[in-house]
């Protein structure tokens, strides 16, 4: 406990260097703009900046990347509330009650409620990040290949069993991601796989390119299809809005607590901010005495999803820095940045790169607090970014995405891949195939495969190795249970139903 606080202080010392403070401010502003613009999400904003960041110091570079995420988390809701246009997928739930409240003449209050909820969710996420991740990292040091593979199985099972969408399609999406990851050189034997004699496939698929296509272009196609109509509600945030916002946040502690807890949990177990915000909204609506009023602009309907979105965002860092498993797609791209710097995310990070880890954690505190005041002060100005005509910023977004996709590996073919992934992302969204687990599979593909192969070698080819080691066994059992949960749950209901 005391040690953690000491470490945090050391981290804050890194963060409060003038250069890093500037990085934080620049990152947040860029992030909020990324958040405001539909079609340019957190994952994309980060992906595009990776080539720039490589020229910096690792700590400053990763701080910049994470600031994009915190900024985008705050910024996504601004346009949800004012224009009914979610700037980010995780801000969709904010439109349910945020926009109606704004339309009823209280846009300022709606914004304040959203920002406060974001702030509380973020701070709770930071607390868990600071005090829980060292424990988890210490524990994870005992993991061998079998355990690493088991943790990944558990992660992907969670998408299948608790994801809510069609479990079968989730399985297909995950396996598809793994297949894409295995294209190219086999990391163990050096053989070429799935290239079918072509040279273009030899380099494999880079997940950053896939992210840019799936989340960037896919989103743009969806936006174009629906047509973007900006009906602006102009606003100022007055002292009265702030006062009433604070009062309402205190008046609905249940919405705030539900949102925060759901968020931190979902971020921790690789679900990401988007499902977290929907889940929190659903829970709060169900348990509310006046559920019928939800959707007309009630305060808890804004507080719960917003706290959840940001809670999930911050806690998504925990599995990334302790286990090497990113908790959300954006975190996956940030992890890509870490790996480019040669920092292997995982428990060893806490031993070998103490300054880096604690600098990052401290910057999460600082960034989220600064972000809160930034959006509170300048929300209307950021919102005005959307007044730029869609036909102007949309081609610009595609242009910037193309730069990002190219710069990852300096290959033009990656820009073509980006376009293909864009179409795929659109189809996936339309047909309800989840994108996040697919991206995660693409990110973790090599690691999962080598962990599995090493574990099998240790076990002399017997898959029992995953069930005989004391740490792997409970993880695998949990993974299998969760994986089959969509089948078990109705069965259980049936059995207990008959007995009663």
């Amino acid at each position: 406990m005391v040690e953690n606080i000491n470490n945090l202080m050391v981290g804050l010392h890194v963060v409060f260097q003038p250069y890093n403070l500037m990085i934080i401010a620049v990152g947040l502003v860029l992030g909020i703009i990324v958040g405001v613009l539909p079609g340019l999400g957190g994952a994309n904003g980060v992906a595009i900046l990776i080539p720039v960041v490589v020229t910096m110091q690792p700590t400053s570079g990763i701080i910049l990347l994470s600031m994009i995420y915190w900024g985008a988390l705050y910024g996504g809701s601004i346009t949800s509330i004012l224009f009914n246009i979610p700037g980010e997928p995780w801000a969709v739930a904010a439109t349910f009650d945020g926009y109606p409240m704004a339309k009823k003449g209280r846009p300022g209050k709606a914004l304040v409620l959203s920002f406060l909820a974001h702030g509380v969710g973020a701070l709770f996420g930071c607390i868990v990040l600071t005090f829980f991740s060292p424990i988890l990292a210490e524990f994870a040091l005992k993991f061998g290949p079998a355990e690493v593979f088991a943790v990944m199985m558990l992660t992907f099972s969670a998408f299948v069993g608790l994801g809510g969408k069609s479990p079968l399609k989730t399985v297909v999406a995950i396996l598809f991601g793994f297949i894409l990851a295995s294209v190219g050189m086999d990391i163990v034997s050096g053989q070429l796989r799935m290239t079918y004699g072509t040279i273009v496939l030899m380099g494999g698929f880079n997940f950053i390119v896939a992210v840019i296509g799936l989340f960037g272009l896919g989103e743009i196609f969806l936006t174009v299809e629906e047509g973007l109509k900006v009906e602006g509600i102009s606003t100022k945030i007055g002292l009265k809005d702030i006062w009433e916002g604070v009062k309402d946040v205190i008046r609905y502690p249940k919405a705030l607590i539900t949102g925060t807890l759901v968020g931190v949990w979902m971020g921790f177990k690789p679900g990401g901010a988007t499902p977290a915000s929907f889940m929190a909204y659903g829970f709060t609506k169900q348990s509310s005495a006046n559920a019928a009023e939800f959707g007309t602009g009630v305060s808890p309907g804004i507080i719960a999803p917003e706290a959840a979105a940001h809670g999930a965002g911050t806690s998504a860092m925990i599995p990334m820095i302790t286990l090497g498993i990113p908790g959300s797609p954006t975190m996956a791209v940030i992890m890509g940045g870490l790996m480019i710097f040669g920092l292997q995310p995982g428990p060893m990070l806490f031993k070998e790169n103490v300054d880096f880890v604690w600098g990052l954690i401290a910057s999460t505190w600082a960034g989220n607090i600064m972000g809160f005041f930034l959006v509170l002060a300048f929300a209307p100005i950021f919102a005005s970014v959307l007044k730029v005509r869609f036909a102007i910023f949309m081609p610009l977004i595609i242009y910037v995405c193309a730069i990002g996709a190219y710069a990852v590996n300096n290959r033009v073919i990656d820009i073509y891949y980006m376009l293909i992934f864009g179409v795929l992302g659109y189809l996936f969204k339309k047909l309800d195939y989840p994108i996040a687990p697919m991206v995660l599979a693409l990110v973790l593909g090599d690691m999962a495969e080598s962990a599995m192969r090493q574990a099998l070698i240790i076990g002399h080819g017997s898959p029992l190795v995953f069930f005989t080691l004391p740490l792997a066994l409970p993880l695998m059992v949990a993974a299998i249970l969760i994986f089959f949960w969509p089948v078990i749950a109705p069965l259980k209901a049936k059995m207990f139903g008959k007995k009663a």
Partner: protein
């Protein structure tokens, strides 16, 4: 929608078959030093085939029972999407010739003027300034060279 659902599941199943074929070529059994190269992809392929067949089966029975359902895209949605997709693809093709920045300038101008019906002044301003700005930022400030294409090097000489 359901027809597209069926086609996509068939496509996934086919992909699975292709992957299995290559895994068998590589060997998917236990080799001299542990699992062979095709071991992991083989089971991925098998998994994709099985689960996409399930998806196919579900979609097919629903198709038989309830008909095709809503179309995949609302009517009139395909056109604006193609208006984005084709010019962007054209941008990449032109990139191979004159480099990304010049291609992007053309793309920006085309989209803003022809599709977006935005005034000439704005079109030219954004179409020239933003590629220039990004060129200076990436190629000159951060020294990240972006594709020049065949002739881009001659066209952008500063």
């Amino acid at each position: 929608m359901r027809r597209a659902e069926i086609w996509v599941s068939v496509a996934f199943a086919l992909l699975g078959v292709i992957v299995i074929a290559d895994s068998i070529r590589l060997g998917f059994m236990w080799g001299m030093s542990g699992p062979e190269s095709g071991f992991f992809p083989f089971y991925l392929g098998v998994g994709v085939v099985i689960s996409s067949l399930f998806v196919f089966f579900n979609a097919f029975t629903r198709y038989r029972k309830e008909g095709a359902g809503k179309p995949l895209m609302p009517p009139g949605a395909l056109k604006p999407i193609l208006w984005v997709l084709i010019p962007s693809a054209a941008m990449v093709v032109i990139t191979e010739l004159v480099g990304l920045h010049i291609a992007a300038a053309l793309f920006l101008a085309f989209y803003m003027r022809v599709v977006g019906k935005i005034g000439w002044a704005t079109t030219l301003l954004v179409g020239i300034i933003s590629p220039l700005l990004l060129y200076v930022t990436f190629d000159k400030l951060f020294l990240i060279p972006l594709p020049q294409g065949l002739w881009g090097g001659y066209l952008l000489r500063f």
